[in-house]
Symmetry: C2
Subunit: 191 residues, 2 copies
């Protein structure tokens, strides 16, 4: 939204105090996760990619999902890889180890106990992800190629989220560090 200059009323959900499990929020998204976008007709969208797609359709410029069919497919491909190999890996590590999430190892209304081995596997996968990102950024300015896109936003969020498990881009991933420096300096990153 910040990249596109979209101004939108926001309502903060108090995750620390479990507001996402309230009946009021369950009526918005029964999966109890944020964010959700209220449309003009009063219906709600959840799932980040669905929200990004809708916002891009309403506010095409600047394009964050690509300008041609092939470019959009490549961005969706890289965004999917980043979600599975980056964001999910950090989430596995974080949710299965954080003291405050003892029986909250997954998002959603059902309680599951933490699995320490899954936290460990998550950390190893985050390490792999950092190097994968570095490899891709060796010959590309941005994660999906020449254009800044939602794949960069997802990857930046994954790197930032990794701070919660005390992991950061290692010194030797010079391409990923160059990229992170660039994307995290954009004005939108502070929004």
């Amino acid at each position: 939204m910040a990249e596109k200059g979209i101004v939108c009323e926001t309502v903060q959900i108090d995750l620390a105090n479990g507001e996402q499990f309230s009946d009021a929020y369950k009526a918005i998204n029964p999966d109890c996760v944020v964010p959700a976008l209220e449309l003009d007709d009063g219906s709600y969208l959840s799932e980040i990619l669905a929200i990004c797609y809708y916002l891009e359709a309403q506010h095409p410029e600047p394009a964050l999902l690509g300008a041609s069919d092939k470019e959009r497919a490549q961005i969706l491909m890289w965004n999917g890889k980043v979600e599975q190999q980056g964001l999910m890996a950090v989430a596995d590590a974080f949710r299965n180890s954080a003291k405050g999430l003892k029986n909250r190892a997954t998002t959603g209304p059902v309680s599951y106990p933490q699995i320490p081995e899954l936290a460990e596997r998550g950390r190893d996968r985050v390490e792999q992800f950092f190097h994968k990102l570095d490899g891709q950024l060796e010959n590309n300015e941005f994660v999906a190629g020449d254009r800044y896109s939602i794949a960069d936003i997802s990857a930046m969020v994954a790197v930032d989220f990794a701070a919660r498990i005390k992991m950061s881009l290692p010194d030797d991933v010079v391409n990923a560090r160059r990229w992170y420096e660039a994307v995290s300096s954009r004005p939108s990153a502070a929004a």
Copy 2:
């Protein structure tokens, strides 16, 4: 592809014998997962949603990703929920318990040992998913609403995949069973 009548040369990758880890396939998709789509310019797409998006752009009819911005966003939303809560849950259960996948608990080039607790959690999440699907299909003909879409294909694959962990739609999810009967009888389901 079958729904759209797209004819495309296919090359079978011998997963049982590890052909996805060969140098030849790694050059196509370094993540060692199928499917991948070769484009006319010789480049490759991986990640199912990216491939579906590209095929829909080249062959718009019948629309499997929606006909309006809002409908497409809703289909992306439901497809995301099905992937995370259905397909991933079955995959967690299957990959972390199958005898033939002892050190192959995740897809990809790195070997990780199975985590039995994760298999158990996966099975519980599949049960939740079947009931979630049923709730959504109580007032909707298809998973994302009135239109057959990739969300139905993903959900049907999740139900079919669950047979690998000996789970199936329980007797009491009558709406999901009515839906499964309909979608699995489409000619494309046999393709």
